[in-house]
Amino acid sequence: MKDSWKSYRSPDCFDELITGNGAPRSAARRLVSHFSKLSPEEMEARKEAAELAIREMGISFTIYSQGSNIDRAWPFDVIPRVIRGRDWRVVSAGLRQRGRALNAFINDIYNKQSILADGVIPAEIVLESGNFLEACRGIRPKYGVWAHVCGTDLVRNIDGRFYVLEDNLRVPSGVSYMLENREVTKRVLPELFFRYKVRPVDDYPLRLYQTLASLSPRERKRPTIVVLTPGIFNSAYFEHSFLAEGMGATLVEGNDLIVKDDVVFMRTVDGPVRVDVIYRRIDDKFLDPEVFRPDSSLGVPGIMRAWKAGNVAIANAPGSGVADDKVVYAYVEKMIGYYLDEKPLIRSVKTYLCHDQQDREYVLKNLPKLVVKPANESGGYGMMVGPHASRAMHRKFARLIEENPRNYIAQPTLSLSTAPTYCDGEIAPRHLDLRPFILQGRDSWVTPGGLTRVAMRKGSLVVNSSQGGGSKDTWIVERRK
């Protein structure tokens, strides 16, 4: 594959492995030299071995539109993304800082609301958001932490710096793919691991366990922890079971749990057993039919009462979503100053709020240059990437914004970084992002690296797995001593 690597260039953006003049970055040198030496047949064999490993390991994810076919092998690129350890340490510190500020914000919003009183964030933005849950007012979870697991999406701009694209504080998924990607890479490229010092990722389930255990309302050496899943037809079911297994926790569905006298129990072959911590992977609004959607059969009637009474911990706490609203996102840097009196170590992307008249005028004038996103949808279904959209789309979004400005934000189109990716027998640049996971309980912790998602189609900027994205293993490499 020597020629393919030699001629590789990624114009107009930062490439993770190869510099502008075609030379490998220092941390990627050995990796590039390894792949350059492979013949096209050997490269194809690596790819097939990875596909086989994935199929055998049963890695699958589902997308809603596929109906009864709930298995789908999941696209994986064998060339790892390499990030220098010293670059990562800055990012990691920035993520912890951000996590602390976001949790301080959520706790404030459901209690004193001083940030609103002080006029740092306009009150109506927060209180009128669909993600603000009145039912959570006055609650103070242990350590003041609401979002115990946060998946933050990062992109690397042309300047080579990481920016936060969004914070996912409700039920972020993808961590199991990060872990499985490493497993697959170990099977397919064992020889490469001898030439690098790659920070391991496989202690995630243990860290998650420790975080969750620290939330237990009862002081017990081994609290009873359950992972609450909506069931097999949920797109992240695989991950739910994977994490339950990794933590030695019980994977439950709503009808496995009952609430008696404000205490949550699970139904077992030995009769009811009290539950201390619920790692819930279902949305707030399905959590408790007594409080939220009465038609929901996924949740557990009475679970909110039990939580409010302090008899059970729920992670992430209901109501955490108030901080992952895309409008609230625009204020996170201010929160860091307000709550922590610190400067942000990792930057957000400049965000225009369409409900603000000045911002809106700018957005409507510059639609072809901007990315427009709905303020609180996830999954990349309702967004518009200005430079790639038709004029009809620009007009459509202009209309949508004017009809409902609060629902939209816009950001400059970043030139997402690329990395060499094996596509149709060639090594070609593909855009990618990165989702690290931040855990917060009594202590806080950030995954070394995270899940790198790749837009497998040429030129595409959309990396969501539900829209044809794939992924790569992510290596944080330390210098060998």
Partner: protein, 309 residues
């Protein structure tokens, strides 16, 4: 750690389905071997294989003729025929998918592989030429799965509920295999005495019981003795007696096992009281019918005791 009722139920069915897939594979294999031994012109029908798993209605919905091809297709390759190898493996896999966390790590991968293998090969294995190899491979993989459970699973509740599922299904299938033999014997008796002997020897083989039987009773295969062996042997792991004894042992550590024990004991005394020498084949079949009804009751009682939500 204790176990969710819903998970216990799925493990129970996982084990039942895998046991069922293996038993069906064994039965088809043994019956095919048996048919090879019969002179042309005297072949018994294949229909008893369908009757024995109570699947005539389902079969007739799909096929007009009880031909070998249709029946084998129904028993191993049809995706949605209840009890086919393919359906059982798929159903087991669906259950394993949602209980991975309490099974040995390699199980999910192996069951997945088995599912893919069966999906790729079942249809082409309806032909006699490929059938044997396919069924053997399926059986081998089942043995591998069972071996892993045996050697690496802690003897916890997960293990117990799987074991209970296996035992119920094993007892069920063993009794059904005897039923096939009885029905076929009644069909061929007058015409061909040697065929009867071959039939019962193949029956033993389908239960992996041939060498155990020889060691216990010698090489002559007498129908009465075979029935006695399959019903009452204390040491042969697929005998009805053995399955019932093990059921009693496996439920011992569970909460409130008495109602189940009561049924197990009642069923066991019926089996031990059956006198093969003095009974006709028709009596035998009636006894098997009763036995299967008892198993259904036992299944209901297991639900009431541990799975009810």
């Amino acid at each position: 750690m204790t176990m969710l009722s819903s998970v216990a139920e799925r493990l129970y069915w996982t084990a039942r389905y895998l046991e069922r897939a293996e038993s069906t594979a064994r039965l088809v294999n043994a019956y095919t071997q048996f048919v090879f031994d019969i002179p042309v012109g005297f072949e018994p029908g294949w229909e008893s294989l369908i009757r024995t798993i109570d699947a005539n209605d389902a079969f007739e919905l799909r096929y007009k003729k009880y031909s070998e091809r249709n029946i084998i297709k129904f028993l191993i390759a049809d995706n949605d025929s209840p009890g086919s190898v393919r359906h059982s493996v798929r159903a087991a896999r669906e259950n394993v998918r949602t209980t991975r966390d309490c099974l040995p790590e390699s199980w999910w991968e192996l069951v997945n592989e088995l599912h893919l293998y069966v999906g790729d090969h079942a249809v082409s294995s309806v032909a006699r030429r490929n059938r044997f190899q396919f069924l053997e491979r399926v059986i081998r993989r089942m043995q591998q799965l069972r071996g892993i459970v045996h050697s690496s699973m802690p003897r916890d509740q997960a293990y117990r509920f799987m074991r209970i599922g296996s035992l119920i299904e094993c007892a069920d299938m063993t009794s059904r295999v005897v039923d096939v033999a009885a029905a076929t014997t009644m069909q061929i008796k007058q015409e061909n005495a040697a065929a009867t002997e071959s039939l019962w020897a193949n029956l033993l083989r389908s239960l992996s019981a041939l060498s155990a039987y020889r060691r216990e009773t010698g090489p002559v295969t007498e129908t009465d003795e075979i029935i006695d062996f399959i019903f009452k042997s204390k040491s042969f792991a697929r005998s009805l007696h053995f399955c019932l004894n093990s059921l009693e042992e496996e439920t011992e550590g569970l909460r409130n096992p008495r109602p189940v024990w009561h049924l197990v004991r009642k069923t066991r005394s019926t089996i031990l009281a059956f006198d093969a020498e003095k009974s006709s084949l028709q009596d035998l079949r009636t006894c098997i019918d009763d036995f299967q009804l008892q198993l259904i009751k036992l299944n209901d009682e297991i639900y009431k005791s541990w799975f009810q939500r």
